[in-house]
């Protein structure tokens, strides 16, 4: 009369599945070949090409392109955007995940749906929304002009658009995890006399930290790489409102191949670093 049925040992489960799912050799090898050649053709090859193109006129030309004031300004703006966006969305994401997994309130499912909105709307439309709100002809346009606040065609607009686009990453990582964990550990901490803040720091945060870092990482990668929404609100003013992705586009349109690909190589490098960190985080999560 066992009250709990013991879950099957995961290793055993995998072994059993493997036996059941054993396909013929030719099926396995051709599937592997298709996957590998797809990744080679569509991911590795372009990535290599970015590096080759960036270095096509020698290392000096590459460094010259990178140390150009406009490029440096673009890198600075990109970093600034990420630096403001990522902490903001970390806080928003944790708050949203907390509200959704810990409280019962009316409109909760609506909120859950709205969190996904930036994922489901085309980034260009997200950008346009901000133009309609804060542009010269927009809803708040007159007020903003009267108070000399510049949002569209300025860094603040770029940051706003990026915050909107990257909002879901942290919340999306945390909600399923926090739902699965339940709130009993937190209730236990409260019953032991811990304050709400202490409970969050000492109990909740350590339990969600890997998922949180993972979300922050994805959020950061998108914040630095976002093109569509930022493109609409930026106005492409060289040295002022060009982020790195926009800078790459401008250079490419002007046939400055080395400049374009030098910028692209930084973004590609960022992607590789993100990928490595992501793998490390996933490995850490699996270890727990």
């Amino acid at each position: 009369m066992s009250a709990v049925t013991q879950p099957m040992n995961p290793a055993k489960l995998v072994a059993r599945q493997q036996l059941a799912l054993q396909d013929a050799d030719w099926v396995r090898w051709s599937l592997i070949a298709i996957a590998v050649s797809f990744i080679g053709l569509f991911i590795c090859l372009p990535l290599g090409l970015v590096i080759v193109k960036a270095l096509s006129k020698g290392v000096e030309a590459y460094w010259a392109a990178l140390s150009e004031p406009d490029t440096l300004a673009a890198i600075r703006l990109t970093l600034l955007t990420a630096l403001i966006t990522v902490p903001l969305n970390t806080v928003f994401g944790v708050a949203a995940a907390w509200a959704i997994t810990r409280f019962e309130f009316k409109g909760k499912s609506l909120l859950t749906t709205l969190i996904d909105l930036p994922f489901s709307v085309s980034p260009v439309i997200s950008g346009l929304i901000f133009v309609l709100l804060f542009g010269a002809e927009g809803w708040f346009g007159d007020w903003l002009i009267a108070h000399d606040v510049k949002i569209i065609f300025a860094a603040s607009g770029i940051i706003l658009a990026t915050v909107f686009i990257t909002f879901p990453f942290v919340a999306r990582q945390l909600i399923p995890l926090m739902q699965e964990m339940g709130s009993q550990e937190e209730e236990a901490a409260l019953s032991l006399g811990a304050s709400g803040w202490k409970t969050f720091c000492a109990v909740t945060l350590p339990n969600i930290k890997w998922a949180l870092l993972y979300g922050v990482l994805l959020c950061n990668a998108r914040a630095m790489g976002e093109f569509g929404a930022v493109s609409v609100v930026s106005g492409h003013i060289r040295g002022l409102t060009n982020t790195l992705p926009l800078h790459v586009e401008v250079n490419y349109n002007e046939y400055n191949i080395v400049g374009a690909f030098a910028g692209a190589s930084i973004l590609a490098g960022l992607a590789v670093v993100t990928l490595v960190l992501k793998t490390v985080l996933e490995w850490q999560q699996a270890k727990r």
Partner: protein, 347 residues
């Protein structure tokens, strides 16, 4: 410390989880809140703890109104069904948590904390596990650690939500006895929730039977077993045979010794061990046949079928000690005579 609940009600939407509960628990008792699932027992426990708020009513702990106190300010210890140990902390840190989060002026020094935690771990006989993590422990060990953790803050009241619900049967048996002994040593007022009547009878000094958000009966285990207040309690506490005196042909019950002289209702409950069976003589006109039997350890449960001219066939269960049954030399299909020693009448 004593607990007084006055007029507690709680609704979830239109569902009344608790309906005007009044309950007094004297100091030092070990009380079981017993009832079927959905009867409101866990909700009541969580309201006492402050993890849930009542729609109306007051919670008094040792005479002081704690209704508006936060869970962290109530001075309770709570033990969860699924342990709720902090999974990223060692056993030692789990037990130390309640002491470490005290405001600076009340916080004991590290030496004191270390001593106290080891003393508590000794108390639950698990000091040798102090540097393990919760997922390296068995269910029974986890629950004992959870209890040590709750005791660390010296709660006025210990609340346990189905503390043995997630454990294997054999571990559950051991821990019941252990909890009873621990309570005997510490004498802290404790309330535990259970849906297992056997567990409630075995562990508790007082049992509160709940159903549909109301208290059906409160009393000592033997009170509740011997004098059930109503048909629900009688049915819920242990096996019983139920006869409806209006629907059924009742002559055979009277033949079996059921006295209708003091009839106090139309429903009769007879516990299996209150039915004595004897082998009928060959030419008896007995209506009752032995159908089957099962071993329940020291007892035998005997399944009887009443047949006869009047009324439908009915199953009757009786229980008797093993050796007594053997002496009767009964076989399946034998006719038997019944004697009812005791019955409860309900409306």
């Amino acid at each position: 410390m004593s607990i007084l609940l006055s007029n507690i009600s709680k609704n979830f939407g239109t569902f009344a989880a608790l309906d005007h509960i009044n309950l007094e628990i004297p100091e030092g008792e070990l009380v079981a809140l017993l009832g079927p699932s959905g009867c409101g027992k866990t909700t009541l426990l969580r309201i006492i703890a402050g993890l849930e708020s009542a729609d109306q009513g007051r919670v008094l702990i040792s005479g002081q109104d704690r209704t508006d106190h936060d869970v962290s300010q109530r001075g309770i210890g709570f033990v969860f069904q699924h342990y709720a140990l902090f999974r990223h902390m060692t056993v030692f840190e789990n037990v130390a948590f309640g002491l470490r989060v005290k405001p600076r002026r009340d916080r004991p020094s590290n030496d004191v904390i270390t001593k106290k935690v080891h003393a508590l771990l000794e108390l639950v006989q698990l000091d040798w596990l102090h540097d393990r993590y919760p997922d390296q422990l068995s269910g029974g060990q986890r629950q004992r650690i959870a209890l040590a953790r709750a005791l660390a803050v010296e709660p006025a009241v210990l609340l346990l939500d189905e503390p043995f619900g997630a454990l294997d049967a054999s571990v559950r048996k051991d821990l019941r006895q252990w909890l009873r002994n621990l309570h005997h040593d510490l004498n802290v007022t404790s309330i535990f929730v259970t849906h297992d009547q056997e567990e409630a009878m075995e562990v508790a000094s007082q049992v509160v039977v709940l159903n549909h958000g109301r208290i059906e009966q409160q009393g000592s285990p033997s009170d509740i077993y011997d004098h059930p207040a109503n048909a629900f309690v009688s049915r819920f506490i242990g096996q019983t045979n139920i006869f409806d005196m209006e629907d059924q042909d009742t002559d055979w019950l009277q033949t079996a010794g059921l006295s209708t002289a003091h009839q106090k209702g139309k429903i009769v409950h007879v516990r299996p061990h209150d039915i004595v069976i004897e082998k009928s003589s060959a030419n008896s006109d007995a209506f009752v046949t032995l159908k089957d039997w099962q071993h329940l350890g020291a007892l035998i449960r005997i399944e009887l079928v009443k047949t006869g001219a009047n009324g439908p066939a009915a199953s009757v269960y009786a229980e008797m000690p093993n050796d007594q049954f053997k002496r009767l030399h009964l076989n399946k299909g034998d006719k038997v005579d019944l004697r009812i020693r005791h019955a409860h009448w309900f409306h």
